[in-house]
Symmetry: C2
Subunit: 184 residues, 2 copies
């Protein structure tokens, strides 16, 4: 598998990359399900995280905003949980497409919700550099995909997450699409 | 125990209450540790949650912002994890003061960090009304306090969390205070 990783510039803000041509998992989500505060590219107030394959792992970089503090100098744990959550659901979707031998822009769309989230906070996470999240698919079992995520700052693992995700039920997905169409 | 609960008006935004005289757990945090994105009263960009005792339970109300969506109409799971996390650390601090027979405005301050966070998402959480969080102290063991939290919308439990919190080590607390003093 050829993998082109996003490269973060020293002063990179948010989740900007120097490789604007590579599409992230989240760039393939249908518009109607792209308003998630964590990963929706259409949520202008949100975190807009971007996840990519790096071989068998998925990777995401995120620079916390200055106000995402727990205590001054360190990142707020709720943000870490949010990043782990959305990076895991994105990884689950990408893994399901890969398992099916399909590209992420083919129909019908796969989208995952979180059934459970567990995070162990191993050490205080400094806020001064982009965070790196590395996801691994632990299990794909029918509509359930379990993903583990290491969150690193300065190359040290500061938090470790495990996320059980479930593919959005077809009828719920249909309802979301129909509701969105009604609003247009 | 006499308990005065905050009363939310129908159109209440954020965490405003009609009882402005009652202090929340978070109102007692020293200024230097009041910049948490989830619960710091001095973080102007943050959620600024407020937690109170209601008998043996702790309670917090929070109205998600319109952009805190997962899919349109439903609350983003990362926000739910964040609310559960900060309500639990606040509850842990309050419980520790109560165990010591001390008021929350007495020295030295107790402050708790999250060691682990687990959230089970039981059903999609509607965004149209304030959420209610109810915390219970499961165990106090030395510097470790475990808190369980039910998160309700429309009187239904939509998510359930368990948070293991640890009292901030004295040397770390001292360092934070000294760093803050240096910045002034």
């Amino acid at each position: 598998m050829v993998c082109v990783l996003p490269v973060l510039s020293e002063g990179a803000d948010r989740n900007e990359t120097m490789n604007d041509t590579q599409k992230a998992f989240q760039d393939y989500y249908p518009d109607e399900v792209s308003y998630c505060y964590g990963c929706g590219r259409l949520n202008e107030y949100g975190l807009q995280i971007k996840s990519y394959w790096d071989g068998e792992e998925s990777v995401c970089f995120y620079q916390p905003r200055p106000y995402h503090t727990a205590v001054p100098g360190y990142v707020y744990g709720g943000l870490l949980a949010s990043l782990i959550d959305c990076h895991a659901t994105g990884t689950a979707a990408a893994a399901k497409y890969r398992e099916a031998g399909r590209e992420m822009d083919t129909e019908p769309p796969f989208r995952f919700l979180t059934a459970s989230l567990h995070v162990d906070y191993l050490k205080p996470t400094p806020i001064d550099r982009p965070l790196e999240l590395r996801g691994r698919v632990k299990e794909i079992k029918g509509r359930k995909v379990t993903v583990s995520v290491d969150l690193l700052a300065h190359d040290e693992v500061c938090a470790r997450g495990e996320v059980v995700t479930v593919q959005v039920p077809d009828d719920f997905m249909t309802r979301i699409m129909e509701d969105a169409a009604r609003r247009e």
